[in-house]
Every structure is written in C-alpha cells, then in structure tokens.
C-alpha cells in the first residue's frame, strides 16, 4: 500500500496467426499493461493493418449505432475468440456498405428539406410576381440578349458578388431573405454569361427552378408547385422507410458486429506499439505485476498448450521511468485516491503518499474545524449526497467524523462551549499552546517528507542526492539541528550546542553538494551554491511556520462562532434563532470550504512538493469491452 507493486517486463512470443487470441487472453487477464517492444530483431508491425481495419470498422459502427440506435447490452462469452484479420476486413466492408446506404438516405433527407424551403420561396416569389405586370416568359427567354438568373446565395457573399458581377455588366437585385440565404435576380448580357458561371458556383449560388408554367401561366404554376411538394413528401417517406428498414434488417447483425469489434479491441489497442513481429512470429510486450505471473503462465498454457515463449525480467535501471505504477488500496482508502491523483501518479518504486495523505488530511481538517455539531452536519450531508457524488462523498463523511472527534476535544457544539465538557480544551483558552502544537506537527511533517524523499532517491539509485542534497538526509540533519537549536534558544530544550553543530554539519554538506552539482564558472557556482543553500534554509522554516495556519483556523472557528452569538444576542427570540441558524450555515459552508482547501494546500505544497514528483506512468491494463 505504501509502494507501487513490483513489475516485470514481459515479452510473449507466439505464432502470428494467434496474436489476436493472445491479446484477447491478456485483456481477460486484466493486469497486462502494453508497452513498446524493445526486441530489435522483430522490426515489423504485423498488427498495424488489423488496427487500421478495426478503427475504420469501429468508426462506421458507432455512426450506424448513432443513426439507428444502440442494440442493447453487450455480453462477451467467456470462450469467444477474437476475429482474424480477414474476418475483420470483411466486417469492415459490410459496415461500409451499410453506412454508405445510410449516408445516402441522410443526404437525401437534407436535400429534400432544402428543396422544400426553395419551393416555399418560389411560391412567395410567384405571389409577388402575380401582382406585377411582368412578362416572365419574355424575360426568361433563352434567346434574349438579357440573361436573367433567379436564385439564392449566402447573405455574407452578396456585397462581394455584386461588386464582382458589376465588372461584367451584371446587376444584382435582392428580393427576399430566408435565414442566411438571400434571394436575388441577376441580370446581365447573355454574351458574358460564361464569365460569371464560375463566379456564381464559387459564391454558392443556387438557381431557383423556374417551371415553364411560371413563365407563361402563373396560375398553372401553383399546380406544379403542389405536385412538387407531393413528390418531395413521397421521396422523404421513401427515405424514412429505408432508414427504418435498415434498423430492422440489420439490427441483429449490427449487434454481432459490436461483439466482434469488442473482441478485436485488445489487439487493436496493443498494436499501437507493443506488437512487433517478423515472418510468422509475433511478440506482445508490456508489464505485468510480479504476483500475477503464475496466473498468466496458467492462462497461456491453457490457451496455447505450449505454443508460446514467455520472457520475463526485472526492470533495468535505464527504464525505470517507463515502468507503470500500479497501486492497491483497501476499499476505505479509495475515496482519497482521486485527491492524490489530481497531483500526479507516483513514479515506479517511489513511496505512495495515499495512506499518510488520508490520515494527515483528516487530522488537519478536524483540527481546524473541530465542532461536534458542524462535523455532524457535514457527515450527514455527505452521507445523504453519497449516491450522487459517488465514493468521493466518503471523504466528507470521514472529515465530518474527525471534525466531531475534535469537537469533543474542544468541547464545542455549533459554537456553544457550555453544552459538553471538553476532553482537552477550547483553542481560544490557550492560543499559544495551540500554535506550538501546530508548529510541532509541522516539524514532524516536514521531517517525514524529507525522510520519504531520501528513501525515494535511494530507491531510484540516486544515492548521492539521497544522502547529500537539501531534500535528502543532509537537509534533514540541518532541519532537525536548527529546530533543536531554536528550541534551546527559546528555552524548550537545553542542548543548544550539539544541535547547532548538527545544523552546521548538515548545511555544510548541502552546500558542498550544491557546489559539486552547479554548472558554469567559479563565480556562477558560488552564486548558485549560496542562493540554493539559503533558499533551502528559508523554505524549510517558512514551510514549517505555514502549519501555524492550523492553529489560526481553529481559533478562527471559535471567533466566528463568537461573532454569530454576538449578532444573535442583539436580536429578539425569532431573530436570535434565525441568526444562529444562518450564522452556523455560513460557518459550515464558507469556513468548511476554506478549511478543506487549506488542508489540501498544506498536503500538496508543504508535503507532496518535497518528495512526490507525480510524473509516474499510470498502469493502464488492456481490457475487454467497448470504448
């Protein structure tokens, strides 16, 4: 729980024809993290085509399902096999066929809708033209000198089209607008029609279909428009039938396609880097937790009956940064994991801060917000909202419980300090003592983080940094020596000299190490050494003093309650009750929120930043199922 799980580098070599089954088996195994294959002899990527076909098929299937609706829950049989490349390509071909048909229907629906809106505009135009004494037949004559176009174009293009057409002696007159489309008449010399054709196409001009009847007998045009509408409705109906037919006709086969693509997913995902091969041989590479190796061997034996070769080895020094970190947590610790992961993932072999984080976070929250009543409200609210917020709500339940515990120590219930007898004392009764305890906690906390960082560096093989650096053992020696020296100065201890000697030795070692590590010439090295050593000393103490906020917030909690009581006492009975309820609500929401953030801040900045890089690789196993 305090360290990432030991991992082994794994290569499984097998027949190329069985690669998809091996990937499926590893996905069922559930703890295989694919990683780039380092076997130089296997230079080919035999699963690249498989992945390509799978990606295409998956994209088509998801579009079809979006169009036709999902085909229900997916159950993967335990003995189902992954499709071979040929099967996958055939499935992909079929999906392409069906999706192309669907797409054609979809396009057709859009075109019908656009044609309908054009008919509406044409009808309006017809109504306007009926009142004018215009001989359209004459104007639209194909052999006249004047070429007349009636149509639409985007409103944004009108100005530029008008300017461009003016260069060819054409005139543009708008007569209507529907949404972003402007309807216009373009008139110009027929001899220059060829010049404007490309321009109009480029501008997205759409010619309105003007029936012959409109040219001669406007009344007859109405019948034509009506006939067109009926035709559109019929076309649209046919389209809808086709779509519904697709659903009914292909529903079961689409479900089957979903199943087969889910079975093909493991190899398609592993293919990205971890599958290499040559000729009829393929290797799947990745990481497996050491404690699962015997299960893996048993699985491979059962499935491949010895037709494989498994190579397992410990990670070597140069690849530690690539090893994924897998952590196991008990159920009660799980709700705290997102808060740790929001900072980062521990590197392989590093100390996992989840457990101390959970304890220290709750402790700090309770110490800053200790009140039986307020804690109970937080606990009940978190429990009530548990279903909505999931596991993270249990952090609230635990924080509420710890707040109640500290409430018992402080003797505070909704700010009233006379209701119960404190097991310890109210912070306000001895603020100096509370501040001292907070700083002492800070000293312990910083010392712990320095110790953890020393361990992390040692584990990573950086022995010199672990022992000599400012965040290593030498830094810890300086810190404890200086704390002891200061404590002797203020009279808490009486052993000043040994502590100051310890601090001097610590800082001298750190300075020596900084000097050794600093790049550049002598002047630059002096500057770097001085500044970095000084920065270490200052930051260690400022970070320790930062824990005084724990005491400050516990005092603040009492002070806020006093403020609420002062306001309430100045009011009548009803006003008093309202002020108490409102005041306590503000304390719970506002101060509770601030304290929750402050506790998190202390953990992240005074704790994690000292030993936790958070740039590890998360263990992402190959899994079965849909995306």
């Amino acid at each position: 729980m305090l360290r990432t799980e030991p991992m082994l580098r794994m290569h499984v070599l097998l027949l190329a024809s069985e690669t998809q089954d091996a990937a499926l088996e590893l996905a069922r195994f559930g703890v295989f993290n694919p990683a780039p294959c380092s076997l130089d002899a296997l230079a080919e990527s035999p699963a690249a085509t498989y992945r390509e076909a799978w990606l295409e098929a998956e994209a088509r299937l998801s579009k079809l399902l979006e169009q036709c609706g999902n085909s229900g829950p997916l159950q993967l049989p335990a003995d189902a096999e992954a499709p071979a490349l040929a099967d996958l390509q055939e499935l992909n071909g079929w999906l392409k066929e069906v999706w192309t048909a669907c797409l054609a229907c979809h396009e057709s629906e859009i075109q019908v809708a656009e044609a309908r809106s054009h008919l509406d505009v044409l009808e309006d135009t017809l109504a306007k033209l009926e009142h004018l004494n215009v001989d359209l037949a004459h104007l639209l004559r194909a052999d006249s000198l004047l070429a007349l176009n009636i149509g639409s174009l985007p409103v944004t293009e009108l100005k530029r089209v008008t300017e461009a057409l003016a260069m060819t002696g054409h005139l543009v007159t708008r007569f209507d607008q529907l949404g972003e489309q402007v309807f216009a008449v373009i008139a110009g010399p027929r001899s220059r029609q060829a010049e404007v054709r490309g321009l109009l196409a480029q501008a997205g001009w759409r010619q309105l279909p003007v029936p012959d009847e409109l040219r001669t007998r406007p009344q007859a045009a109405r019948a034509w428009l009506e006939a067109e509408r009926v035709r559109m409705d019929a076309e649209s109906g046919t389209t809808c039938q086709l779509m519904a037919g697709l659903r009914e006709r292909f529903g079961p086969r689409l479900h089957e396609a979903r199943l087969r693509l889910a079975l093909a997913r493991p190899l398609a995902e592993a293919a990205l880097a971890s599958v290499r091969g040559k000729g009829g041989l393929t290797a799947l590479s990745g990481w497996v937790p050491r404690r699962h190796v015997h299960v893996l061997r048993a699985l491979l034996d059962t499935r491949f009956h010895g037709r494989y070769w498994l190579d397992l080895r410990e990670p070597v020094a140069g690849e530690r940064a690539d090893v994924p970190s897998l952590m196991r947590y008990p159920g009660w610790l799980q709700p705290f994991i997102p808060l740790v992961k929001s900072y980062g993932v521990p590197r392989y072999g590093e100390f996992d801060p989840a457990l101390p984080f959970a304890f220290a976070y709750l402790l700090l929250f309770g110490a800053m917000f200790g009140d039986v009543g307020h804690g109970a409200v937080i606990l009940l609210l978190a429990a009530f909202l548990g279903r909505r917020f999931g596991r993270i709500a249990w952090v609230g339940v635990a924080a509420g419980a710890v707040s109640m515990l500290f409430g018992l120590l402080y003797g505070s219930v909704f700010g009233y300090e006379e209701v119960i007898r404190p097991l310890w004392q109210s912070p306000m009764h001895d603020p100096v003592r509370v501040l001292g305890i907070a700083v002492a906690f800070g000293v312990g906390f910083i010392a712990f983080t320095l110790l953890v960082n020393t361990g992390n560096r040692w584990a990573a093989g950086r022995t010199a940094a672990a022992v000599l650096d400012s965040n290593g053992l030498a830094g810890l020696v300086f810190f404890l020596g200086a704390i002891g020296g200061l404590a002797s100065l203020v009279g808490v201890l009486d052993v000043a000299l040994p502590f100051w000697l310890l601090a001097g030795a610590g800082i001298a070692v750190v300075a020596g190490y900084k000097w050794h590590e600093a790049p550049g010439g002598t002047g630059e090295r002096i500057m770097v050494t001085l500044i970095e050593t000084l920065e270490m000393a200052i930051s260690q103490f400022s970070n320790t003093l930062s824990f005084m906020r724990v005491a400050a917030f516990s005092l603040n909690h009492v002070a806020l309650a006093l403020a609420v009581f002062t306001i309430a006492n100045g009011l009548e009975t009803a006003g008093h009750a309202v002020a108490i309820v409102l005041g306590n609500s503000v304390i719970i929401v506002l101060e509770g929120g601030i304290v929750a953030i402050q506790a998190l801040r202390l953990m992240y900045y005074e704790g994690f930043s000292r030993f936790f890089n958070g740039d590890g690789r998360a263990f992402v196993p190959l899994r079965l199922g849909e995306g």
Partner: protein, 345 residues
Amino acid sequence: MSAYLDTRVSLYASRLWQDVALDALVAAPDAEIAGALMQRGLPQLAAGFVNPADRQNARSLEQRIIAEVLDETRVLIRPLSGDARSFLTFWTARFEISNVKTLLRSKMTGERPAAVLARLTPMGSFGRLDIQNLAHAEDVGELLRRLEAGPYADIVRHARRAFEQSHDPFSLDAALDHAYYEGLALRAKPLEDTVGAPFHTLMARLIDRINLVWLLRYRFNYKLPPAQVYYLLIGSRYSLPSARLQELAALDSLQAVLAALPRVWRTPLSGAVDIPGVFARMERLAASEAQKVLRSRAPAIARAFAYLILRERDLRALRAVLRGRHLGLAAGDIRQALQRVPEAA
C-alpha cells in the same frame, strides 16, 4: 503582462537566423547541424536531423517545423487575453485549415484514414478538430457536414456550398483560404485600432502580398475571368483596396499588373518576371517591415506577431536547407532555393 511578453519576444528574437548564418548552414558538416539548430531553439528539428528514422517520433520535417512554431506561439500567447489572444490563436488555425484540406483531398482520392492521419500536422493544445473522427468520414460530403458542425463552421459552410455547386477541388481550397484570411483580417481590425501603425503595417504587408499573389496566380496560371478573380480575393482596407483590385484583375498580363501597382509596391517589385519572383520580393519587404517592428518599441503584441512572421520565414528557409541536404543537392542549388542569399550579398 506586456513586460513579460516584450522580454520573451526579445529573447526569442536572438534565435532568428541571419542570412549569413543560413548560408553557413548550407555548407556546414553534418556533425554541426544539430548543434546549430539547438542553439537557435529548435530541439525538434535537431532531434529529427540526428535520428530521422526515430520510430517513436516519426514526424516529417514539415510537422516538426510546425511543432516548433506552435510551441513558441504557445509561450507567447500565455500572457495574452481578449483580442490579442484571439488573433494569435487564429493565426495558428491556418495549420489546422491545412489539415482540413489534406483530409478533404484524402476523401477525394480514397486514401485510407491511417495514411492521412500520419500526414496531418499535430496541433497539440491548439487543435480544435477531432481528426480521428473526421479521418473516418466516408466521403467529402460527410466530412464537410461534420466540419460544419465543428469549430470552423464559418469557414467550411461556404466552401461546402461552393463545392456542391461545382464539385471542383479548386473551389473548395480557394473558398477555405478565402474564408480563413477574411476571418484573420476581421480579428486584426480591433488590434489595428488599439495597437496602431506597427500592427497595421504587418497586416497590410501580409494581406496585400496574399491578394497580389493570388490575383496573379488565378488570373495568369488558372486563367480565371477577372470577376471571379476579384471575388476570390480578400476584402482589403490596405494599400490595395477593392477598387484597385478590380482594376488589376481586369489587366491581361503580369507586367501590366505590376506597372499598375501603387508606387509603394512598384519599386520593390521591379525586375520580377514571374509569380515566385513577385512572392519572394514581397516576402522580403514584409520581413524587412517585421524586422523594423521587432526592433522598435512597438506594443508587445505587434512585436510578437512580427517575430512569428520572421520565425516562419526562417523555418521555411531551414526546410529548404535541410531537405536539400537530405536529397544531396549541391550547395549552389540549395542557395538558389533559399532566395535569401542575394539579399545578404
């Protein structure tokens, strides 16, 4: 914020390549190239040069160059907000529009999604498109509809309509380019008002150059009619306004167009006999203006934009050098392709 950006731009400015340094790179031994690239803050190009067959990071030279530009733009954008941030973000969008064009062409030629995905430029945090999804569109129609539902709807909408009318790949490309630069000019307007002359000059040089080169190309390479050529140009408020562009589009030879240009352009363009020559001269002029802005005490956003213009010009030259060396071309041929040597001479 402006102090931060000013300092950052000044630090970056020292990474720009002088013509002499580029010339030296043409003939430098292979062992010195990576070091020279690193010294100019180009780690990805250096890595690509040292290990061109890196399996884990198999990016093309073009992709690495754009990645360098995007990395620097990301740093410059950090302190910006409002119009300035929106402008520089949109300035990077032309790489994504280029991805859109690649995707559209791949659908026209029936290229496999995996192949086209490998050719697209990784946009990192500037990426706004779901390229996996788009690459798996079945045809141009589906791709355009999907694009129209995305962040570049304004740019794509008109292009789709134009393509539906003509089914001509040229109209699609031209519509996308046109809409992009119209959008850029629109986003530049508030900055020209607030930042003033330095920014206005940079935009003027950019838009005028694009308009003139497009005009020459559409008119004399593609033989489009004047009205269509004019329609395809960017609505300009700079030294080549609409009325002047209409006049120029109506002329029937490159020399006639050059002779009819405003005086500010005529002298620098004298002697140009073809469109690449015009482009090179105009780019040199724009670079010289950008250098002036960069060295001046202009507002930080103008200096940042000037730096990015110059950096991209440098990187285009570097591409010529590195590609030329990779192909084993003679130093003289690479220098000719650079088009920066005569300036130094």
